[in-house]
């Protein structure tokens, strides 16, 4: 009876810690600071887009031959980051790694925000964005259809699917906690707010049963989905006969790189939230440890991708070799070496448990990886294009002010919804944590 009561307390505390966060938010001032910053960035985004639409892509640094620039770089980068969210929650759910429960919720939220940023870029970068819907098949008075053999069309479907599935997955997960929040809410406003979005969830056993099925299966499909999505992104490059792109290693290389950057960003967010909100009990050092391991593993696999690329070039020779040369000692060598150094040198610290368990170190490493992976995308896009085949069409690329401003603005697109999520929704999965505690308790 006593331990029973104790367990009951635990459930309740978990509830408080997680679900009461929005209801009695601790770090209000800090949040407002961040949020107003995010809003400023959002404003910058609107300005950048207005400038872009009124003048055309000319306001960017793109040229012939480098007619893809920051837009595509950031598209790939954001999407890559997003993948970690899905991987963490889905992969770890089906492999039943219970330490996921403290991370998956905000990881998924992060995914959603990142995918939105990623999805916006290809549309903004179009010459005639107002016709972007031509990529979707619909009955039109022209009798013309999309070109289904184009990697871009694949991307369109991939990103759309990914966005929708991630949204469902995230909502399924958060639904019971919304109900919980509804029941804990004291003020009418919160009651109505959570009441509406929790759809009147009552914890009915049959509901739970179906919920489990749906959630598990979705998770199971989400993993191959992630793989397919970023593989398709990689085809956007490797389908073209451009030295440095036309390579079969790209799909796995991209997927791993994506996971790599994603885990790093999840790490950053976890550490930040841990510092900002009283979640130490839930997001423990063990979780950071695990994140560190995941980052290390995917990082080393990505490193293998680098090696195999170099090997390919050396093996193929000719244009491939020339491109390798451009990457290693060309005008944009900084992007290659930047990527190599930032991605893999600090990473090696994570071999040691004590560094993985030190929030500071992990944060530093994660940041350097996030930047490093951006440089890698830059390297992939620019160093391949600026000197591709013909000597006569060698060119250069220098991002303009509006390139950077839009990138910064995208930060707003990312942060505003994410901060709102942190502020008003249960950022960690309470029900699953309780489930976990229960299982541990019953296992003895």
């Amino acid at each position: 009876m006593a331990e029973e009561e104790a367990l009951r307390q635990v459930y309740d505390i978990v509830g408080e810690e997680i679900v009461d966060l929005p209801l009695a938010f601790p770090a209000r001032r800090g949040w407002w600071l961040c949020f107003s910053g995010a809003l400023a960035l959002l404003a910058l985004w609107f300005v950048s887009v207005i400038v872009l639409f009124s003048n055309g892509v000319a306001v960017w640094g793109n040229t012939i031959p480098v007619n893809w620039g920051m837009a595509i770089i950031n598209y790939v980068w954001f999407l890559g980051i997003g993948h970690a969210g899905t991987l963490i929650s889905a992969l770890l759910l089906i492999s039943d790694r219970n330490w996921r429960n403290s991370l998956n919720r905000f990881a998924e939220a992060m995914t959603l925000c990142a995918v939105v940023c990623a999805g916006l870029y290809p549309i903004l970068h179009l010459g005639r964005p107002w016709f972007f819907y031509w990529i979707a098949p619909y009955f039109n008075s022209m009798h013309v259809w999309p070109q289904f053999k184009s990697p871009l069309t694949w991307d369109f479907f991939a990103v759309l699917t990914y966005l929708i599935v991630s949204l469902f997955f995230w909502y399924l997960g958060i639904l019971p906690d919304l109900a919980s929040a509804r029941d804990r809410a004291k003020s009418r406003g919160y009651q109505v707010f959570f009441g509406i979005i929790s759809l009147g969830w009552r914890g009915d056993a049959s509901h739970w049963a179906r919920w489990r099925q749906a959630y598990a299966i979705t998770a199971a499909i989400a993993v191959p989905l992630v793989v397919s999505v970023h593989s398709e992104i990689s085809l956007l490059f490797s389908a073209g006969p451009i030295p440095g792109w036309n390579s079969t290693v790209f799909p796995p290389y991209f997927v791993l790189g994506a996971a790599f950057s994603g885990f790093a960003v999840v790490g950053i967010i976890a550490i930040a939230m841990r510092a900002a909100l009283p979640l130490q009990a839930l997001v423990t050092l063990r979780h950071l440890d695990m994140l560190g391991l995941a980052t290390l593993a995917t990082g080393m696999m990505t490193a293998y991708g680098y090696f195999s690329e170099v090997f390919d070039a050396l093996y193929a020779g000719g244009q491939e070799l020339a491109t390798l040369n451009d990457r290693l000692c060309g005008h944009y060598a900084w992007s290659y070496w930047g990527a190599v150094i930032l991605n893999f040198i600090p990473l090696q610290l994570l071999w040691w448990r004590r560094y993985r368990r030190s929030p500071r170190i992990l944060l530093a490493v994660s940041l350097s990886v996030a930047v490093g992976m951006w440089m890698e995308r830059f390297m992939l896009v620019v160093t391949s294009l600026y000197r591709d085949w013909l000597v006569s069409s060698y060119g250069h690329y220098m991002p303009s002010f509006w390139d950077w401003s839009l990138f910064a603005g995208m930060g707003g697109i990312f942060l505003v919804p994410f901060l709102l999520f942190v502020r008003f929704l249960p950022a960690i999965s309470a029900s699953e944590t309780k489930d976990e505690i229960h299982e541990e308790a019953t296992d003895g």
Binding site: N140, S141, R182
Partner: protein, 220 residues
């Protein structure tokens, strides 16, 4: 705890969901519907003109041939508009005083052209060539409709890509004898004759629908 929502909320929520589904579908339908509507394609919308010129009167009434005014239709990409001078060839004799024709007389006097409002217009990235269509025996009526029954000219078919394609994907059936291109009423042929002519025409002109619906036929 007390109920947060009144029972009616459930009703409303379900109504709302059903409604939003309907709206969603509606939006998806509306797009095409709008695009294919005559509001978009302007089919059957009479356009008012500086001079209320009646094709009905001049064609079926007076029996003027299309080529009397649209003189270059057989020789050029453009059918051409009649110059004020052409109008005045007759109207210097008849209806000389008619107020309706005042703009025409002014135009001749001032040397300032009449400004007709286009009825059959194509975007500037579409290159339609009257000459070849006439030469193949595509009758005027195929695209412009029964102008001989239009007091005020209106578009008879949607001048959109789909309309062009419909014909280019099945050209043979649309062809007639070249000496009948300006004929307005349907040919006095039975189905069999039509079939025979279509077959003959297809053979004669080496018509290849698979070729005729390719982009470079109209876009340059």
């Amino acid at each position: 705890m007390a109920q947060i929502f009144k029972p009616s909320v459930d009703t409303f929520s379900r109504l709302f969901l059903a409604g939003s589904v309907v709206v969603l579908i509606g939006v998806f339908m509306l797009g095409p519907v709008a695009a294919w509507s005559s509001y978009q394609s302007k089919v059957g919308w009479a356009v008012d003109q500086p001079v209320p010129f009646s094709h009905k009167h001049h064609v079926s009434g007076l029996g003027l041939d299309c080529r009397f005014c649209h003189a270059t239709v057989e020789t050029s990409a453009h059918a051409g508009f009649p110059s004020t001078h052409v109008c005045m060839t007759c109207h210097s004799q008849i209806w000389t005083g008619s107020p309706m024709l005042a703009p025409v007389r002014q135009s001749l006097a001032s040397g300032r052209p009449l400004a007709w409002n286009r009825v059959s217009k194509l975007p500037d990235f579409v290159f339609f060539n009257h000459k070849i269509h006439i030469d193949r025996g595509v009758a005027c009526v195929e695209c412009h409709g029964r102008v001989d029954q239009m007091p005020m000219l209106a578009r008879a078919h949607p001048f959109e890509m789909r309309f062009c394609l419909d014909c280019h994907r099945d050209p043979a059936g649309r062809l007639g004898p070249t000496d009948q291109v300006t004929r307005m009423s349907p040919l006095p042929w039975d189905e069999a004759t039509h079939q025979r002519f279509a077959l003959a025409a297809a053979r004669r002109y080496h018509l290849d629908p698979a070729r005729l619906d390719k982009c470079d036929i109209c876009h340059r």
